[in-house]
Symmetry: C2
Subunit: 372 residues, 2 copies
Amino acid sequence: MQKAVINPWEVKGEVDYNKIVKEFGVERISDKLLARIKKHTKTLHPMLKRKIFFAHRDMKWLLDEYEKGNKFFLYTGCGPSGPIHLGHLQVWYFTKWLQDVFDCELWFQFTDDEKFLIKNKSFEEIQEWMYENMLDVIAVGFNPKKTHFLIDTKHADLIYPQAIKVAKKITFSMVKSSFGLNDSNNIGLIFFTSVQAVPAFLPSIIKNKKTPCLIPHAIDQDPHFRLTRDILPKLGYYKPASIQCSFLPPLTGNQGKMSSSQAIKAILSTDSPEKVKQKINKYAFSGGKATIDEHRKKGGDPDVDVSFQYLKYMFEENDQALQEIYNDYKSGKLLTGELKQLTIIKINEFLRQHQEKRKKAKQQLDKFIYKN
Amino acid sequence: MQKAVINPWEVKGEVDYNKIVKEFGVERISDKLLARIKKHTKTLHPMLKRKIFFAHRDMKWLLDEYEKGNKFFLYTGCGPSGPIHLGHLQVWYFTKWLQDVFDCELWFQFTDDEKFLIKNKSFEEIQEWMYENMLDVIAVGFNPKKTHFLIDTKHADLIYPQAIKVAKKITFSMVKSSFGLNDSNNIGLIFFTSVQAVPAFLPSIIKNKKTPCLIPHAIDQDPHFRLTRDILPKLGYYKPASIQCSFLPPLTGNQGKMSSSQAIKAILSTDSPEKVKQKINKYAFSGGKATIDEHRKKGGDPDVDVSFQYLKYMFEENDQALQEIYNDYKSGKLLTGELKQLTIIKINEFLRQHQEKRKKAKQQLDKFIYKN
């Protein structure tokens, strides 16, 4: 088995979430916490019910504040260096749900600086990807009146003066142990974590009022926010609360995460129905048996089957229907080809709607970019 | 003897300029180079004639370009963390002369980020000092039509996107060996050298034309510009040329440099005539003998006498008059008290004019701050 590596710039190997919970020091989302959330939201998003968003920091405190009338804002983001895939959309559609049910502001950071600093790509290439990525974010359907895009380079006049206040409290030793950076990394990347901290308190500055913050994110970004949480109280702000999801698997199976730098293992937001069909049929790791006969007899393994995972993560919102698919695949009643066909239809219906909204996103861009 | 330390954040001990020339790899300013400069400037500034500006990089190339009609711009700056003293003014008045005789643009950087990151001062304190420092810079008399103040935090939208292009090419190892930084330094300071590089090529971007740059500066800033010179050709810009001066000594003698963090050893731009008189009389290290009799008999040592150094560096522009003072002090004809009196008068006349211009500087501030 490949040794697992998890940091903001690399996820590989089989991820042991129990180990992560322990090592990162996050808290598992309990049924009690879900019940408390449900009091406010009426229904629970499937990613919560299914504990795909499985861990958190300070959600109880956040709800305490919320119940006292101290509303929070959301902060999430995108590192623009390639096409958007289902793994991005997983977090963002969940974030949209949070925005809708809690009726809150969303600050959305585009870390074009980070991606330029770590990728072998020009500044211009990154800017082009950022434009493309913004269309996807808008297509998710965030409320344009309550959503503010912060672009690290474009809004540097706002961000940099705050980032240095964070940076003053972080030594290179701290960055080394948090991210595994070393002396041969470039000094831009070494500085970057202070930039990623800023949206967690910038709204408090703009509103001139200490405001709680909730960061929905995939677990690999946690090292940034652990540092952020250490520093912010020293600057007079709240520690941000956070809620973490597990990784949507790449087509090739339960190792690493879906990633745009390995596009062949990913389903992209712009993939055509034919492309999706081809990718799922050709690449989606199957939990089925070698022959139909054997499958009918012994049944398949939905827990490693990528198509089933996609249904569970994003595309079959009905719990009963999902359970039936699980049972049927496990019993051998449902064949791999049939499961794939079902998944293809679901993904394509989702992408059809997403792509339709994406086409109209260009005209909305200006409404989303934050104006000082 | 105190071991000499020279880097952008610390100068202490007796400075051996021969050793610096060798270690830093700068070139001594030759009489031939001075003659070539004089062809264009008609007269030579005393700081050049006297080789107080004693070293350079690529001045020959700069003059080649100039003679081909490819004009250069000037770039210098100020780290705002305390009051302005004569050591700052030394560089800036020389820079004004360069602006006048070569009729060129000046980009003046205020590194408020750097000073915030290295000093035990709040962001607000640094901003207040920056405002005060700007009044001094304006009082020097730079041409408002050709001078642009760049403030690292205020103009971060211009500077940061360029700084990351520099940063991508600098590893922490390079910063360690250039500045002696280590793992316990904060990540803002580690990043900072890429910010200081930007004004050396930003005008080329704004004008959309590769433009030569000349940086007049005190020799302690050289490590920044050595790195800058390594990186800029990789980004498609010229290496900046530079011209370096030796340090105006503190009142206490030829060790270290005049510094605003040791204000008692410095003469400040805002000092009253009484204050100057008191500081020179009380603190200015003297090359005189213990008694008047001994002084008359054996003579003094003008080369270690701080008052004489001040006359030589900045306040006695007439070479013949300076030589006479030198001879008279060395022979014993001129007493320490008389030399001090002479120096006090000269400094106070200089400061009277500077302070008068400083009073009127507030109204001009807006003309100097760069508008995107």
